[in-house]
């Protein structure tokens, strides 16, 4: 009897402690705390660029700030600008800067800083920059470095003026690209965290930026450690050395596409029929249901939330014929779970290919010398047209794509614009160069004491409002 009483007392005590802890967490966001994050790789430099890997994307959002960002619905939201308005029938857009915005070095964010940063952005390899340059006055010549003049970009007082050749759809969306981040003359960013210490290529420490345009982040510090293997990332999390891993696991709803990219410039995948055979032999449902936790069959090349499901794609279950036993190399981004690439190899092997996998870092997956590449792709700017432009850059010279995208850019009518974009997407898929295998969530996992982590529309982790419970 006394034993039962003691057990009851102990249970009540434990329950009280658990409730206390839950209550503290339930009290809501709190300032303070050092967050340790493990990622597959760290960028060599913190310059704004189109991030390819989840780690790079995370750091881009931590360190840098853009003029605008896109909300979960794809609508522009203020970042370093306070507001904006159109003029000249939609050919001119004026962006007024937030007067209290500051860089990490303490300097105020000026229109000249924005102009200088956008000029750099326009000459970057970003597809979003290409789209902006194509539509701005003098943008194409400036991007091609034929002139230093850029009439379409003017800094005036606290305003930045964009002048387009003609009215375009979603004119400001390219400004939400990470590579369009604004830097001071000294190279400082304006993101929520200030990079304070870097130890070789493996460890980067960041401190909360108190003068951030949206206010100081909740965390005091974030330390990002590079762990090059996905399986070791999970070990880091399980052993509680870090509270968040980026590059392994599944986080949130599918926001990226598991993409197989054939190299059409050399055998055997220069043969469109062979690409189609290989693409059709892959069972998307197997991947989504059994191999990739949290994944879904792809709606198309774009993640479902960016683009309505395409009726054109249906899972093909039958191989169109035997293929010669050809040795091929498959470059696999390290963010792709090994079982996925192995499943793909099993399919290819079943078709008669003798495929070997070569792991690459996310930022090099598209450049690796291989017959095909397997990667997790999410658009730099989560807007359908810009995303398709990005994909079109991976499959150049596909007939009809450029024209359809150009038409979509000029088309103000939403319905017709979607139609153009649908044509472009269909043409891209029909080329057989880009094969969507699954819609996958962000590759990340966190401990239970980490709260407030969100993802943007491109599936990138945002730690701006993250906080740690005790």
């Amino acid at each position: 009897m006394r034993g039962h009483r003691r057990a009851g007392t102990a249970g009540a005590l434990l329950a009280a402690l658990a409730l206390a802890a839950m209550a503290r967490a339930a009290l809501g966001p709190r300032y303070g705390g050092d967050l340790a994050v493990a990622a597959l790789s760290l960028p060599a430099a913190l310059d704004p660029a189109a991030p390819r890997g989840s780690g790079e994307a995370l750091l881009a959002l931590l360190v840098h700030e853009r003029l605008l960002r896109l909300d979960t619905e794809g609508e522009p939201r203020a970042a370093l600008v306070r507001d904006w308005f159109g003029a000249a029938g939609g050919r001119e857009w004026v962006l007024r800067l937030e007067p209290h915005a500051r860089f990490h070095d303490g300097h105020p964010v000026t229109a000249e800083d924005a102009r200088r940063s956008l000029r750099r952005f326009l000459r970057s390899p970003s597809p979003a920059a290409a789209r902006l340059a194509d539509t701005l006055e003098g943008g194409a010549a400036f991007r091609a470095r034929r002139t230093e003049e850029l009439a379409g970009l003017v800094a005036s007082g606290a305003e930045v003026v964009l002048r387009f050749l003609e009215p375009v759809a979603v004119p400001l969306a390219p400004l939400a690209a990470p590579s369009a981040a604004v830097l001071s003359a000294g190279g400082s960013g304006a993101g929520p965290f200030v990079p304070t210490a870097r130890v070789s290529a493996r460890r980067l420490a960041l401190t909360a930026f108190g003068a951030h345009v949206r206010g100081r982040p909740l965390l005091d510090r974030v330390t990002v450690v590079a762990i090059p293997r996905a399986d070791e990332l999970e070990v880091e999390l399980q052993t509680r050395r870090v509270s968040l891993v980026v590059g392994a696991g599944a986080w949130g709803a599918p926001a990226s596409t598991l993409l197989l990219v054939f190299d059409p410039s050399r055998p055997p995948f220069d043969d469109a029929a062979l690409r189609a055979t290989a693409a059709d032999a892959l069972s998307r449902s197997d991947l989504a249901e059994r191999v990739l936790p949290g994944a879904a069959p792809p709606a198309g090349l774009l993640p479902r939330h960016l683009w309505p499901p395409s009726s054109a794609h249906a899972e093909a279950a039958h191989a169109r014929g035997a293929v010669p036993a050809t040795p091929i190399t498959l470059a696999v981004s390290s963010e792709v779970p090994p079982l996925v690439s192995q499943r793909l190899i099993a399919y290819l092997d079943n078709l008669g290919f003798r495929a070997g996998a070569v792991a690459t870092t996310p930022d090099r997956a598209l450049d690796a010398a291989a017959h095909a590449r397997l990667l997790t792709w999410s658009p730099e700017v989560p807007e359908p047209e810009l995303a398709l432009r990005e994909l079109a850059a991976l499959a150049p010279d596909v007939p009809g794509v450029a024209a359809a995208l150009a038409a979509a850019a000029r088309e103000p009518d939403v319905s017709r614009r979607r139609s153009y974009l649908g044509e472009a997407e269909k043409a891209l898929r029909a080329s057989g160069v880009l094969v969507p295998l699954a819609a996958v969530p962000a590759a990340a996992q966190a401990r239970a004491n980490l709260h407030g982590v969100t993802t943007d529309r491109a599936g990138r982790l945002v730690l701006e409002d993250a906080w740690l419970s005790p």
């Binding site: 197997d286 079982l339 192995q342 092997d349 996998a357």
Partner: protein, 572 residues
């Protein structure tokens, strides 16, 4: 060689004998051992290679049998109880982990993979893995490796049965891969690998030298050697199935190292044995030679007149008995010498008494006659028989002169005896003998009437270690004797020469020479052939020379007598 051997001492000969007896067998033994061990090493390598192949073959057979048993258990025990059987990624994995199987797959009746542990990505697809011809126990299975797969050799066994209402085939086993080869290689201490001749590849531990053997011509009946990476390997091979070979290789360096170790050990043992034999020989020969050498030393001392020489003997063997006899002999010699000396002393005293009596009696008789003559004249005068005055005076003068002359002879005799008795102890010093000879000749040249004096003095004569005054006296006696021996004239030759270990002085005269008796008694005191001689001159010469550690030799023939003094040289 014989000369060299004869020049060796007893100990040297004993050592040489030991060496001749000990070295050849040791060398022969060393070389024979090395050759035998090298052969044994080769044989041992072959046996070791065959044993390794046999062990590996047995291990493969054991794994094959165990694979069959495991497949049966999976079919009968595990699959019916499998949780979550719908998930192809779980079933085989869980069972394989439980049973520690590296290869496990479940196939349906059409040969499609229902679940696979080693290649989970292959579910739902036909199993396309290859087998070795005629033997499905050895398969080339696709297995997980990083982000893709790799073909790996596996030893498996398959069992058919039913699961969830359908016919299935369960294949279980383990990889025969680099880890397997590394494990067996480490266990057996050599290189063990499998050669897949069909695909032209090695299944060997990472970094194994056999991987560099490009196109091996393997023959189970003919093991051989192959040079890989600059090193020679002995190898042996055995086919597991057609196209798949077990290969064992032993680096020559290991064998060479063992052989070299054995050779070094043999040489070291031989050297140690040789050293021990030599040390033993040195000790033994010393033990044998030392008493002999002591005996020889003792004999030399006895020969030199030291009858007190004795040999210390600590052994009871023949050498010890010889030494005891030697000591007894020297003791007898000492007794004999004492008795001889006593007899000689008695004889000398008798001789001296006789000579003294004889020498004293000779002058006494004339004195007695002279005195009796004077008394008779005095008695005649007392009786009145007058003797004329002049006659008396003449008698008196004649008798008194005779008495005085004989008394002078007595005095001379007494002086010589006194001088002989007072012979001083020599005080040797480095002395130029040539100068001493010239000085002596100069003193006696005045007495050399009718005698031709010649000197032949050696140039560069080393100084002699002698008492200059005593040697001058001895030389003077010899020169005087020589001159007295030639009253009618002749030739006196004095020569000096180097006579190791000293110098020699020869005094030669052309007198009548000495007969046998005279030569025998020449140095006897008081023996003389001359009227008025005391017989002490040559005795004094011998005494002086003997006291200096030298010798006197005499050679005589009619018309020529030579005395030779052998004197010690001064120590530089």
């Amino acid at each position: 060689m014989a000369f060299a051997v004869t020049r060796l001492g007893l100990r040297g000969r004993l050592l040489a004998g030991f060496a001749l007896v000990a070295v050849p067998p040791i060398l022969v033994l060393g070389f024979a051992s090395a050759a035998l061990l090298a052969r044994s090493s080769r044989d041992a390598a072959r046996v070791r290679l065959e044993a390794a192949l046999g062990s590996a073959e047995a291990e493969l057979a054991r794994r094959r049998q165990a694979a069959g048993e495991e497949a049966e258990r999976v079919l009968s025990d595990d699959l019916p109880q499998a949780e979550n059987p719908e998930d192809p990624l779980v079933v085989a994995k869980v069972i394989a982990q439980e049973r520690r199987l590296e290869v496990l797959e479940v196939l349906d009746a059409e040969g499609k993979v229902i679940s696979s542990h080693h290649w989970p990505a292959g579910f739902g697809l036909p199993d396309r893995d290859a087998v070795f011809p005629g033997q499905d126990a050895f398969r080339i299975e696709t297995a997980v490796q990083d982000y893709g797969g790799a073909e790996r050799l596996a030893v498996t066994a398959a069992r058919r049965g039913r699961w969830r209402g359908q016919d299935v085939l369960v294949r279980a086993g383990w990889f025969v891969d680099a880890d397997f080869a590394a494990e067996l290689s480490a266990l057996m201490g050599l290189e063990l690998a499998l050669r897949d001749q069909a695909h032209g590849r090695w299944i060997a531990r990472a970094g194994a030298p056999l991987r560099g053997w490009g196109d091996p011509a393997l023959d189970a009946a003919r093991p051989g050697q192959v040079s890989l990476g600059g090193e020679t390997y002995r190898w042996a091979a055995r086919p597991v199935v057609p196209g798949l070979w077990l290969v064992a290789a032993l680096p020559g360096a290991t064998l060479d190292a063992v052989a070299a170790d054995i050779r070094r050990l043999s040489v070291a043992l031989a050297a140690a044995t040789l050293v021990l034999a030599l040390v033993g020989a040195v000790l033994l020969s010393g033990r044998i030679a030392r008493p002999v050498r002591e005996l020889a030393d003792g004999a030399r001392r006895v020969a030199a007149g030291d009858l007190d020489a004795a040999v210390t003997v600590a052994t009871g063997d023949e050498i010890g008995q010889l030494a005891t006899s030697f000591n007894a002999m020297t003791a007898d010699l000492r007794d004999s010498r004492e008795r001889l000396l006593q007899a000689e002393r008695v004889a000398a005293w008798r001789e001296m008494a006789r000579r003294l009596a004889h020498e004293l009696k000779n002058p006494l008789f004339p004195i007695q006659l002279s005195i009796e003559t004077l008394r008779r004249v005095l008695d005649q005068e007392q009786r009145g028989e007058a003797v004329s005055g002049p006659r008396f005076a003449a008698l008196f003068r004649e008798s008194s002169e005779t008495i005085i002359e004989e008394l002078g002879s007595l005095r001379k005799i007494i002086d010589e005896f006194s001088q002989f008795a007072r012979m001083p102890r020599p005080r040797p010093a480095p002395t130029d003998v040539n100068a001493l000879v010239e000085h002596t000749i100069a003193l006696h040249r005045a007495r050399a009437d009718g005698v031709l004096v010649e000197t032949e003095l050696a140039a560069g004569l080393p100084p002699a270690n002698v008492d200059r005054d005593l040697l001058a006296r001895a030389l003077g006696n010899l020169v005087a004797n020589a001159l007295e021996a030639m009253p009618e004239g002749g030739t006196l030759r004095v020569r000096t020469a180097t006579e190791p270990p000293g110098v020699s002085v020869q005094v030669e005269d052309t007198g009548p020479g000495l007969d046998e008796e005279q030569r025998t008694r020449l140095f006897t005191p008081y023996y003389t052939t001359k009227r008025g001689g005391t017989g002490l001159g040559l005795a004094i010469v011998q005494g002086i020379v003997s006291d200096h550690g030298g010798r006197v030799q005499v050679k005589s023939e009619p018309g020529r007598t030579t005395f030779t003094l052998l004197l010690p040289a001064a120590t530089p």
